[in-house]
């Protein structure tokens, strides 16, 4: 079996989303995530990654490193960038209007990211943002 790297470093660009997905997919298979759990973590990582490509490096393009490891029955993904400090856990104001007219088209990414994982942590370390996303093998709360 092909050995999966424990991290990948990429230029933070939308074109590389496929590589990110493949990396997360391989790790999901290795941990044995249910197909639902795999989608959950793919979604969370996509949202975080896409935001880095859009917002973290306003002046230039920077790099992203994604680390993966297994902790018992959980997949742990860490996403590191050197962009502007941004803590997605803080100060998320939720104002989702139910009228189409008032509703903004954006502002859903971080909200979805946080709602589809079993754990999330943010840390500013030196000049890096370090986001940890945790997903259990199976979503059923009895497993």
């Amino acid at each position: 079996m092909e050995k999966i790297p424990s991290s990948i470093t990429l230029k933070a660009s939308l074109e590389n989303l496929d590589k990110v997905n493949r990396f997360v997919h391989q790790w999901s298979k290795k941990v044995g995530l249910s197909s639902q759990s795999e989608k959950d973590i793919l979604l969370a990582v996509e949202e975080a990654y896409v935001n880095i490509t859009k917002y973290a490096y306003p002046e230039s393009t920077g790099r992203v490193t994604i680390y993966s490891r297994i902790d018992k029955d959980r997949l742990i993904i860490k996403i590191k960038d050197e962009g502007i400090p941004f803590n997605p856990l803080q100060f998320a104001k939720a104002e989702f209007n139910t009228s189409l007219k008032e509703r903004k088209v954006g502002g859903l990414g971080i909200f979805l990211m946080r709602n589809f994982v079993d754990g999330v942590e943010y840390e500013r370390k030196g000049k890096c943002n370090l986001l940890t996303l945790i997903k259990k093998k199976s979503r059923g709360i009895f497993n």
Partner: protein
């Protein structure tokens, strides 16, 4: 993402097939925008072939919905797979979009 289009009466149906993510959102938006700019007022997006959607996909659908509202048109959705349905739910979009179980119900609703 594979996008097929079909016109039935005044309704333009778009059949999406694949992952509706940040990668494919651009293409989908182009196709829908084109139809709207050519005067389509009644859009039905058939999501039966979509097993994954992220906020980028939702953003496209919301943007088109807003454009159509201004022109007094409407976008409706049908055939959401369970996972996609859940994403809509969590995002609070099931109240905003008209969503139908089958393609035919979608068509008939216009």
């Amino acid at each position: 993402m594979q996008i097929n289009q079909k016109k039935e009466g005044e309704v333009y149906t778009f059949f999406l097939n694949g992952r509706f993510d940040a990668h494919s959102a651009g293409e989908v938006e182009e196709k829908l925008d084109l139809a709207v700019s050519q005067g389509a007022q009644k859009l039905l997006v058939d999501l039966s072939g979509v097993e994954y959607i992220s906020s980028a996909g939702l953003r496209v659908l919301l943007a088109i919905a807003k454009k159509l509202k201004e022109k007094e048109g409407q976008i409706k959705l049908c055939c959401l797979q369970p996972y996609v349905k859940e994403v809509f739910d969590v995002a609070g979009l099931t109240q905003i979009f008209k969503i139908y179980g089958t393609h035919q119900e979608g068509i008939d609703s216009f």
